[in-house]
């Protein structure tokens, strides 16, 4: 994993912002810092003009995080998991119950609400994982590979749901290795490698900036090279 060096980036409200880069580029470090999981040793950043040093709790109330791993209790049901994580955002009572039912219904999981997570398929777990991060209607949503390892149907359901959230005003910051997915989904993209920002712009502007590039994959290879990134 690279540490971030001389790194400066701004994400505007309402964007769907894609963080792309090869393995070990520094994406996880960046997103972990933005989610308050690790502290930067130098430099600073703010979210909605708030900093973790002064307003940790306020930031955590306005952000939602969907980690790459399922981050759910396997022996609890989908409803129990969502009720618990929702309550950690201070949601309670009927409001929480309705929110859980509504989200499960939107992602086609309502009939499985009272089944244990350990019995779910990968795609179903991904969808519950997503709901757990957005129950409190976050202003900013961080997603780390939200569609990895799922079937096309689940992937489409997740992307549609995220687009719906974005329409309602949620800013989305997401990492992915699916470059075609990112090209279609993101309004803005940053390509990072070796802890540094290589390029930033709309998918169209990035493709246009590289001669002979037809898609985001061509841009990515052109900027980060073909070298394998097997780093331990």
């Amino acid at each position: 994993m690279y540490s971030l060096v001389d790194f400066s980036l701004a994400v505007n409200e309402g964007q769907i912002f894609g963080l792309l880069g090869p393995n070990g580029a520094g994406k996880t470090t960046l997103i972990s810092m933005l989610c308050g999981l690790i502290k930067p040793t130098s430099g600073s950043f703010s979210i909605n003009n708030l900093t973790y040093a002064k307003n940790s709790n306020e930031i955590k109330k306005i952000i939602g995080v969907v980690p790459q791993e399922y981050a759910l209790y396997p022996t609890l049901t989908a409803r129990e998991n969502l009720m618990y994580f929702g309550s950690m955002y201070g949601l309670k009572g009927e409001n929480l119950k309705e929110k859980v039912i509504e989200s499960l219904d939107f992602l086609g999981l309502l009939k499985f609400a009272d089944k244990r997570i350990e019995t779910f398929s990968g795609g179903m777990k991904r969808r519950v994982n997503l709901i757990a991060g957005i129950l409190h209607n976050p202003k900013i949503l961080f997603l780390d590979e939200p569609t990895v390892g799922v079937d096309v149907q689940s992937k489409n359901a997740i992307i549609d749901y995220l687009k719906e959230l974005n329409k309602k005003g949620t800013t989305i910051i997401y990492t992915s290795h699916h470059l075609s997915e990112a090209q279609d989904f993101c309004t803005d993209i940053a390509i990072i490698d070796r802890g540094q920002l290589y390029a930033q712009g709309t998918p169209e502007s990035l493709i246009g900036a590289i001669p002979n590039a037809n898609n985001l994959e061509d841009v990515f290879i052109s900027l980060t090279g073909k070298e394998l990134r097997d780093d331990i």
């Binding site: 540490s3 470090t29 810092m33 989610c35 308050g36 999981l37 690790i38 502290k39 930067p40 040793t41 709790n57 955590k60 109330k61 952000i63 995080v65 980690p67 791993e69 399922y70 981050a71 759910l72 209790y73 396997p74 022996t75 609890l76 129990e80 009720m83 618990y84 994580f85 309550s87 950690m88 955002y89 201070g90 309670k92 244990r116 757990a132 991060g133």
Partner: protein
Amino acid sequence: MIYKLAMSVYKEFLLLKRDLGGLITLFVMPLVLIIAVTLIQDSTFKTVSNAKIPILLVDNDNGKVSKTVYDNLQQSTIFSVVTKIDNEPLTESLAKEAVFKGKYQLAIIIPEKLSVDLQAKINQNVEKITSNLGMTDTLAKAENTAVVNQKEVKLYFDPAVQMSFKNAVMNSVDKMISQIETKSIYATFQEQLGEGKASFEQKSFITFKEIVPKVNNEDIIPNSVQHNVPAWTLFAIFFIVIPLSINIVKEKSQGTFVRLRTNPVSNSVVLAGKTITYLIICMIQFYMMVAVAIFLFPHLGLPSLNVQGHLFMMSIVAIFSGFAAIGFGILLGTIAKTQEQSAPFGATSVIILAAIGGVWVPVFAMSKTMQIIAESSPMNWGLNAFYDVLLRNGSLLDILPEISLLFLFFIITTTIALLYDKKKRAV
């Protein structure tokens, strides 16, 4: 915060409810442990009236001494005397072989002419005394100057026999021989002084009386249950370290711990949720074990646990012991990366804490160094507090140092866990 805490406690209970293996570990195993250990230890505490230990007696003396040894052993409630194996009269070599092969635990070999030589030696000694007093029988003097060699009663023990059993047997045989010797000395004096009909009081002049603490003018007489239940209850309470540390490690590996850190809830609330849940578990365990000791033990032929007037104070000790165990579990779960690290380490460290804490071997019987180490074991603090309450009739003030140490242990271990976690988050 209270709402988040309540939801965390509810979640922990749901997780436990869905983990059958964990529930068995938490509730059934401690009960099995306490019943098994108390049943085993009770038989060594009380006289074993139904299961006498057979001992081999080789009588090469055929005199007064060997007869007395035989009678005393036969009358004892602990031993039964065996003088033949397969209808063959016992010899020293036969007895030795049987004991060293572990078929019997003990053989006593009484040497030839023990009674005769003992009497001769006593006669010589008594005559010396009486001659000094000017009462010498000059005709007998020449006869009694022959050298009488010291005699040895040989004891063979099965090598698997424990040292405490050996010592107990050696002491009782020694006492038996001393009593015979004393009797003979009295009898010889009687003879020498010509006081044939005078009767000497031969019962022990000095006796022992154990004075025990009293509650409501009633003696508190310790028994195996009063000793074992607190010790093993404490052991079971500390075993909560294993499921708790596994619970924390699982949260880390499942990713739920990471999710919680991104939620507007502090790690302290998450850990407080675990602490409350596991403290309730500890108390349920404690009351279950006490209930078993009070109501089930009498049906198993064991004495009932007497908690009269002590239950409240015992509950306080259990709560603080639970705190200490939970603090240790939180620390272990925070530092361990995998269940393979936390489970074996948790189990062995609890056993080590129990061993140095005096659960198996009393601290006073340990070496000086080990006694100092024992004082650093939270299990020792808990055990002492339980004994203060149950056996020494101690008050809240008496157990205050121990419960303060137990709570301090919880504070220190939890703080280290929180700091460790915080440090780990800084890149």
